[in-house]
Each structure stands twice: as C-alpha cells, then as structure tokens.
C-alpha cells in the first residue's frame, strides 16, 4: 500500500507531506516544489533515508535549478510521473 506524494510548493505543502509519509512511499517535487533542492536540501537528504524522491524535469529546467548538492534524486518526465502513479497504490497531492 505505497503512496505517491506530489508536492508543488516548499513551505506548508512540503512540511505537511513530511509528516504523512510511510516507509516505501514516493515523493515527487513539481512546480515550485522543485525549489526544495535549494531551500530544503538538508530536509531532502534526511528524507532520502526512508523514501525515494523525484523531481519533474520540465519544472526543474524551467526554473534554472540544478541538483547542485548531488542529492540522490531521480529526474522524471511526465511519462515517469505516470509510471510513479502506476507503481503506487494511490496519489496524495500537497499544494
């Protein structure tokens, strides 16, 4: 019963997502959620011990972000987003 969590902003959406995660869940950062790469790289480092984290490529490139701190994060396109929703039993959106 794993869940995909999408996070579209840092701030409240990211914070709430963190306390709703079960081991084995997946997190996908999209839209302004990709700013977590800079604003919350410590939080993401910690998080990666328990769950897999992905970023949506189009949103990362649009904003000029890079995986500057070499976090162990997967980059997916919309097709990859679809695959994440297939691989998990349900989707929870945090916005």
């Amino acid at each position: 019963m794993a869940t995909l969590h999408t996070v579209n902003k840092t701030g409240q959406p990211l914070e709430l997502c963190l306390r709703a995660l079960n081991a084995g869940d997946n997190v996908l950062l999209l839209e302004e959620g990709v700013y977590a790469l800079y604003e919350a790289s410590d939080v993401l480092s910690d998080l990666l011990k328990h769950v897999a984290v992905y970023v949506l490529e189009a949103d990362v490139l649009a904003r000029g972000m890079t995986n500057r701190d070499n976090l162990d994060i997967g980059m997916v396109d919309y097709q990859g987003f679809v695959e994440l929703t297939e691989a998990n039993d349900k989707v929870v959106s945090w916005f």
Binding site: M1, P13, A20, N22, V91
Partner: protein, 119 residues
Amino acid sequence: MSQTLCIISTQAPYRGQFAKEALDAALVSATYDIPTSLLLMGDGVYQILDGQSPEQLGRKNLSSMFQSLELYGIETVYVDGESLEERNLDPEQLLPLYTLLEGDAVASFLAQHDKVLSF
C-alpha cells in the same frame, strides 16, 4: 468492496472557497454512501476555531456546516495535532467535534484509505 475516501483540507477558512468547497465535497461524498473521513491539517485547523463570525464578510459560518456533518454519517473530524501546536491553539478554543491524530498517526491514518482528495 466499498472504497474509502479521505478528504484533506489544508487552507484557512474564508480564503476564497477552499474550505467551503472541501466541506461540500465531504457532504456529497457521504450522501453517495462513500465511507468518508475529513482530515484538517496546516492552516485547515483554523476552520474549527470556535466563535467565528464571518457574517461581516458576507460569508456563511463554517461551524454550522461542520455540525451538520454528523447528520450525514461523518461522526468526527480528524485533526493533525502538530498543526495545532504550531499555531499555539488550545483544544478549548476548538469546536468539540474532532479526533486528534498525534505523531505518526497521520501517516498510518492516510494509509488506511483507498483514495485521497486534497483541498
């Protein structure tokens, strides 16, 4: 097998129609006989602050909507305890119709539902 639904409401009341439209969804869900839970997190916990008087804003009081949930079979509203603490809210300031989820309980509570609809 009947699917269970959790509706998560994370926005403060009277910020546009977010809170009201989440409550509408919960009520309609219950009338469709879908086992429905309503979970307040983040600024959503302000929705059950007692003593709201939004009439001056020309808005309906959410309290009466919360109180009518029970008539539709939604016996309680689930509230994230950490969100209350962050906002320095005392339980006595809230409408007495909620069940507190403390610590890890939010994560396991969500895992118990088949579908989640966020607001």
